[in-house]
Symmetry: C2
Subunit: 322 residues, 2 copies
């Protein structure tokens, strides 16, 4: 993992410089909101994946930085709009942008970031790039819509849950890798391998995120413990817990949860039971399965330093505790 | 004008069929919101401009319909988000989407439409198309941001006002024409001519819109009379009125307007004075100047049936009373 951190440390100044330069071109009114969301930590996972995949496939040019940043912009746009939709108050321990700047500026800032990401991606004049990005954004929007459509639906199936997280999280991570492969002029098989790697990594990433929501403390994640259940989000730890419940008990919970009858303290108690029952750990085990799939996909990419770092990124995703 | 209406009548079923087909692919949760904004009238001006420009330049394929619709989707996305930002309650005489479906669904529907528009535009694999569209969306977002930044700023200059309307309205209309030119494989000069035509037409369109806000009745526009001044928007009729005010009187108004001291009835009185002073008419005269510029640009396009219809579109924009 140390190798990846060293790599990231070396590249982060150039990534951040590119981020600042592009954001500096936007209207001053939205800059503060955008800087707020960009500076709220984040490991620049998506730009890093784009750079590593591109370089793994032989891309050596420095215009990789703004292109890699475009993925961070698109991701940040989904965070800005998403936090409004979820009514989330915190983002990585800091107040969510809409609580500081208001909904108007946050919607505008998200729209500006979406436009900026698309504009940067159109620069090289490679149709496949914009196709890849536009599809990913479409999937992301659809995933977010599906998530909202299923709020408080305790009858959600595991397959539906996987569809939701694949859409809202994994497709943009897949695109981060695919963009790298397209820039690296990968042949079809390698482009597919990079895409599969990204998709599986993305699913693993969200599974760990959903496990962390139940497993870790507020200080570590920067979000309240059990934030998901409080927002009415049904994620895998809760689904696994419900599957093991007795029939009548499950029916009671399902009915009360749907009707918003349960108060915060009751929901927190359930979150505790989910954690104590080991369902967050089971979710992490599932994440490991997806990470293994991602590892298999990597074997179809050239065996070099960057491929090793991509493999390390998998370990980072699996072991992170915030 | 009759020719244009006949053309529109013949094409509208195919445009609407393409709109329905594309929207039908989206998640059911956002379809109702999207159908609401799409069905709230609208003359499909942007798709029509794309089709006419493309055909004027010799493009004969039927895949023009979804591509033309992409412009309507992008436009509708800006309406959905824009009405939330403005706190507008009505849109063409119907309740604005966010008042019916709530902000969450309206933000999501706007994001889905933005993604859909970009995705459709990426289909033909022509880099210039996506570049054109991404730039237009960036300008549109920037224009909306600037408009919000200048709410209640009675010291706005005419140049700043023109920048705002060029961004928020004219660039997407410019793109509608430029997309047609790119599809029609226009040479550089003709592509520029189509773009100039669209930009001037777009500015004229918004000037007339801003004049109508002061000049016409609520039944005609489907919006309250003087809605702009009530929302704190400073548009050209008000700017012209202020320019003719005595110094001290203007300063008093400026201060009170900025501080939101004026109540609705006082603002309505000012709107009446703006109308009675002929400032809406002066704004229409300005629109005519831009329409003349647009007409000049048309001369650089091939002289055929479609060019005549594009010229008629100018008359439609200038003479519309709602």
């Amino acid at each position: 993992m140390q190798d990846l951190l060293t790599y990231l440390e070396a590249e982060q100044p150039k990534i951040n410089e590119a981020l600042d330069r592009e954001v500096g071109e936007l209207h001053p009114l939205v800059q503060a909101t955008i800087k707020h969301v960009l500076s709220a930590g984040g490991k620049r996972l998506r730009p890093l994946l784009t750079m590593l995949t591109a370089r793994c496939l032989g891309y050596g040019r420095d215009d990789i930085y703004p292109l890699a940043c475009a993925l961070e912009f698109l991701h940040s746009a989904t965070l800005l709009h998403g936090d409004i939709l979820d009514g989330a108050e915190l983002r990585r321990g800091l107040p969510a942008a809409h609580t500081v700047f208001g909904s108007t500026q946050t919607i505008l800032a998200g729209d500006a970031l979406l436009a900026l990401g698309n504009k940067i991606m159109a620069r090289p004049g490679i149709p496949k790039l914009t196709e890849c990005i536009s599809e990913a954004i479409m999937h992301t929007a659809t995933g977010e819509i599906a998530e909202i459509a299923h709020v408080r639906n305790a009858k959600l199936t595991e397959a539906q849950y996987l569809d939701i997280i694949t859409g809202k999280t994994a497709y943009l991570i897949q695109a981060s890798c695919r963009v790298g492969a397209i820039l690296g002029k990968a042949n079809k098989e390698r482009e597919r391998a990079a895409a599969s790697f990204g998709l599986s990594l993305g699913i693993a990433f969200q599974l760990v995120d959903d496990a962390l929501d139940y497993a870790s403390t507020s200080e570590a994640t920067g979000k309240p413990v059990g934030a998901d259940i409080l927002e009415g989000k049904v994620t895998l730890p809760l689904l696994l817990y419900l599957r093991d419940m007795e029939g009548p008990e499950r029916e009671t919970f399902t009915r009360q949860f749907e009707k918003k009858i349960l108060v915060a303290s009751e929901l927190s108690d359930i979150a505790d039971k989910v954690r104590q029952g080991g369902y967050a750990d089971q979710t992490r085990t599932k994440a490991k399965d997806y990470a293994d799939r991602a590892r298999d996909s990597l074997l179809r990419l050239p065996d070099n330093k960057e491929r090793k770092l991509l493999e390390t990124a998998l370990d980072y995703v699996l072991t992170r505790d915030k």
